[in-house]
């Protein structure tokens, strides 16, 4: 039996061939898997419940840093067609876990504001809860109450709460003067439209990305339309001594026609006050 089994150089040659086949097989399978993975769209998995991370003791801040990097990689690498609502919940959970583990980390709040707040009304509410952790973690920062105020103004349309947080931001060290002016402006009649216009114009001036600039330009044009109506209401009030009962009363003397609102924006005239709303889910 042993005599049938090849020995010496023949055995060595066969072992070499077999080894080469196994190695080539592994490399082929690895490359196929690797290639398949690269074509898969990035997905953001939900984090584990926070207590699991808290068990890591002195490493929990590092865990938070790593979770934030993972979230940034997802946000930077997702395809442009990905529906924001498909990942909003997991994004919210990631930010919640990270802010629970490391409330002092400022990057969380900037990323949360730019990636979660605008997706939907519930996202804006969740975003404000996450940002609230930052009020305690980084009490010296004016940007965090500013973000909460901005979300209440723009996405939740609750100007009373917005004014409260903008005033809080204005009282923080190093807060620019315009934050306090915004809070004052919001409390005036039609001030929300003027404040929104000024905010968006400032954002556009500071934005480098051409795509974002063009989105902001579209928003600004809607605010400009609303400002035209606001000015017409003021003229009507000056001449007639009272405000119009409805917006169509402005036509044709004060306004040739009501402006056509686009991109989910709509004008609302309620209790003789003009408001500009944006449908939720619109970026």
């Amino acid at each position: 039996m042993l005599a049938l089994w090849p020995q010496g150089p023949v055995l060595k040659a066969r072992i070499s061939v077999l080894f080469s086949i196994v190695t080539a097989g592994y490399v082929a399978i690895f490359l196929a898997q690797d290639s398949a993975n690269q074509h898969t769209n990035l997905r953001l998995s939900p984090p584990l419940p926070t207590p699991f991370y808290e068990i890591s003791g002195p490493f929990k801040q590092l865990v938070a840093d790593i979770l934030l990097i993972k979230t940034k990689v997802f946000l930077g690498g997702r395809s442009a067609e990905t529906d924001p609502l498909s990942y909003a919940e997991n994004l919210d959970r990631q930010f919640s876990a990270i802010s629970d583990l490391h409330p002092e980390l400022l990057d969380i709040y900037y990323l949360c504001e730019s990636s979660l707040s605008w997706i939907s009304r519930p996202s804006a509410e969740r975003s404000n809860q996450i940002l609230s952790a930052g009020l305690e973690g980084r009490p010296e920062q004016w940007t965090i109450p500013f973000f909460i105020g901005f979300n209440n103004f723009r996405y939740l349309q609750d100007n009373d709460v917005a004014i409260r947080f903008l005033s809080m931001a204005a009282n923080k060290p190093f807060a620019p003067e315009w934050v306090g002016s915004l809070a004052n402006l919001l409390s005036t009649d039609g001030g929300d439209i003027v404040a929104g216009f000024l905010l968006l114009r400032e954002m556009r001036n500071q934005t480098v990305d051409p795509l974002l600039r063009s989105n902001l330009d579209r928003d600004i044009s809607q605010y400009q339309n609303a400002l035209v109506v606001l000015r017409a209401i003021a003229s009507y009030n000056n001449i007639n001594g009272h405000r119009p009962g409805q917006l169509t009363d402005l036509i044709p003397k004060f306004l040739a026609m009501l402006p056509r609102m686009e991109d989910g924006y709509e004008l609302e005239y309620f209790n003789q006050r003009l408001h500009l709303h944006k449908a939720t889910g619109q970026p």
Partner: protein
């Protein structure tokens, strides 16, 4: 008394030199520096708040390297003394078992302190360098006093852990069971605060609350000694009483653990 102190010093020196001879410090320092260097590649992911992740990273590496030292060097040093018979020539001389336990603890503590001091200085220089190379917006504060406090708190917990390893080694034979139990000790110490916070302060579970409080005293929470978050804050107000309580409790815990270790080692059959 003087003779005993000399004995302890000589055993500590043996353990200290053994650590250098086995390149423990060198290996762990290289590991820590290589990890730090590779970790800084990820710092570009943080656009606003560079101080926090760098500080987290530096202290996490110090914690990690300390744990590697304790679990994989200190545990084996204690076990090898018996398993390889190193202890017999020592105990054949006029050295008591108590002197031996305290001497080994002192030697291991000195080694760990050397290692952490090296990493602490490197870490602080790194923080200063990064703070100097970015605008104040991205790294506004760095408190030397808080850095020192966080550093010595970390060291205090890790010395406490060495005392626990000494206690476990005095009661159990073999490095592997001691290693497993040391991991279990650390796991319980880290997990217990989570259990306590989840159960809250329910009035209906008085007995359980007492048991958990007792367990928390037996297994001190490592996060209590993790003060790295204060290094970058301005508003943190430390009181002398808090500092004294933190270090005092660690010191007393170490004394109790070593005392028990000496008692157990004195009664142990080494054959």
């Amino acid at each position: 008394m003087k003779a005993r102190l000399i004995n302890i010093r000589e055993i500590a020196r043996l353990i200290f030199l053994e650590g250098f001879r086995r390149h423990t410090i060198l290996g762990l320092a290289v590991l820590a520096i290589a990890t730090e260097a590779s970790g800084f590649l990820f710092m570009d992911f943080f656009g606003r708040d560079l101080g926090n992740p760098v500080n987290d990273f530096i202290f996490s590496i110090m914690w990690f390297v300390g744990f590697v030292f304790i679990f994989f060097h200190a545990v084996q040093i204690m076990a090898w003394d018996v398993e390889r018979g190193f202890i017999f020539p020592l105990l054949a001389r006029p050295v008591s078992r108590t002197d031996y336990v305290i001497g080994v603890f002192a030697g291991l503590s000195a080694l760990l302190a050397c290692l952490q001091l090296l990493l602490g200085i490197l870490g602080f220089l790194t923080l200063i360098w990064i703070k100097g190379s970015v605008a104040a917006t991205f790294f506004p504060e760095l408190s030397v006093a808080h850095y020192l406090y966080a550093f010595f708190s970390l060291l205090a917990y890790q010395l406490l852990l060495i005392a626990v390893v000494m206690l476990l080694s005095s009661a159990i034979r073999g490095s592997f069971p001691v290693l497993v139990l040391s991991f279990a000790y650390y796991g319980i110490a880290s997990g217990l605060p989570v259990v306590r916070s989840m159960l809250g302060t329910s009035d209906q579970q008085h007995a359980l609350q007492y048991i958990l409080t007792l367990l928390a005293a037996l297994f001190p929470n490592p996060s209590t000694y993790d003060l790295k978050a204060d290094v970058l804050t301005v508003a943190s107000n430390l009181t002398a009483l808090e500092i004294a309580a933190g270090f005092g409790s660690a010191f007393l815990y170490m004394v109790i653990a070593l005392w028990l270790a000496c008692l157990l080692y004195g009664r142990r059959d080494l054959s």
